[in-house]
């Protein structure tokens, strides 16, 4: 093959690579922005429930779906739409209706770890990603089924994230 067509093919290969790099980079950025959740929230153990709050930073008015896992087992899901006036005072949200509360189910006495996750749905619900709300919630359950929250060094409930 002559040198001119060869030069042209080299230029085309470079141009094709550039197009593909731009496409993949654009998809990566778009996928990151669309799929990865951006939530702020907190969870704690009360004597009979796992409670907390969560606010979507992309859509602050949205009531977020929350899933509760205890000892890595799914327990329940619900919507964070309960009143939490403290988050308005702390400047975390404009309205107070972002609280959640899950009753602690019957568990063996002793140490347990709960994790609350905010659910983020994209592509009409066909893709879901979870973001843990706050830190893992460690608690001890006594013989009467009352939970005692084992606080870590994390910030306090209100205002923590």
């Amino acid at each position: 093959m002559d040198s001119a067509p060869r030069s042209k093919l080299v230029q085309l290969l470079i141009a094709k690579s550039v197009i593909e790099i731009i496409l993949v980079a654009g998809l990566a950025v778009g996928f990151f922005l669309m799929t990865f959740p951006h939530f702020e929230g907190w969870g704690e153990a009360t004597p009979h429930a796992i409670e907390g709050w969560v606010v979507s930073q992309q859509h602050p008015e949205q009531k977020v779906e929350v899933q509760l896992f205890i000892d890595d087992r799914f327990i329940s899901s619900g919507v964070a739409d309960r009143s939490r006036p403290d988050i308005v005072i702390a400047g975390k949200s404009k309205d107070e209706w972002h609280g959640f509360s899950f009753e602690i189910p019957v568990l063996n006495q002793g140490y347990h770890v709960a994790r609350a996750y905010a659910v983020h749905s994209t592509l009409k619900g066909s893709r879901k990603t979870l973001q843990m709300i706050g830190d893992p919630i460690r608690f001890d359950l006594d013989a009467e089924g009352r939970a005692r929250w084992l606080r870590t060094n994390s910030p306090k409930a209100t205002g923590g994230s």
Partner: protein, 224 residues
């Protein structure tokens, strides 16, 4: 300046014929990998057309600049019957194996062949795949490695790798790729290969248990 340096054309100083052919193979291979593993999974079919169109556009320009005619590539009828005879025995053997294994494993779903309109497009899909694999990759592999088992294995390997991570499809397409690439080097006819490809993929999809071939899914969609 050295006299020999003056006489070498600029493009040849940049890249040789074999290096360019290698780059072409890798570039087209990457386009299809990007389509299967990234764009189809994250961006959908509309965006997937971009790398596919870029690859096909490049392939067409490459043929034109190299002076390759459709007849050279295998779009011809003069050697159709000899090519069909060449590929017939392995094709019939593969079909018999798929039907027998599928029947013994209880995987036959042959009735679905007539209920899926998309199977009508399978010959075109097979022809497009054979065109890229044989008409482009096999020909460029021959430029790099010469005619023979080395270029046949490279062509078959690339064809098989495009079916990752569906491992059953990978080794089956590797064997099929060897047969088709070797046939193409002996009798370059894409229509005969497309017939073989259509029959084998249709029976493979409907004779073997679906759990073995996972609906023929490849790329990231295999996991979705």
């Amino acid at each position: 300046m050295d006299q020999s340096e003056i006489n070498i054309p600029r493009a040849e100083k940049i890249i040789g014929e074999r290096s360019l052919a290698t780059w072409e193979i890798i570039s087209v291979f990457i386009s299809f990998l990007i389509t299967e593993w990234i764009v189809l999974a994250l961006g959908g079919k509309f965006l997937a057309a971009i790398p596919v169109a870029a690859a096909f556009a490049y392939i067409l320009v490459s043929h034109r600049l190299r002076g390759e005619t459709p007849r050279d590539l295998g779009f011809r009828m003069d050697n159709f019957v000899p090519a069909l005879w060449l590929v017939a025995i392995p094709t019939i053997g593969a079909l018999a194996c798929f039907l027998l294994i599928g029947w013994s494993a209880g995987g036959w779903r042959l009735d679905l062949l007539w209920s899926r309109p998309r199977y009508l497009l399978l010959p075109l899909w097979a022809l497009a795949q054979q065109y890229v694999t044989q008409g482009f990759i096999n020909r460029r592999a021959q430029t790099v490695l010469g005619r023979g088992w080395k270029s046949v294995l490279v062509t078959a390997s690339i064809f098989a790798l495009l079916h990752m991570p569906n491992l059953n499809l990978v080794w089956l397409t590797f064997i099929g790729g060897i047969v088709w690439a070797a046939t193409y080097q002996l009798r370059p006819n894409l229509f005969a290969l497309a017939i073989s490809h259509t029959l084998t993929s249709m029976i493979l999809a409907r004779a073997l248990p679906n759990i073995w071939v996972n609906s023929m899914r490849v790329g990231l969609k295999y996991f979705l």
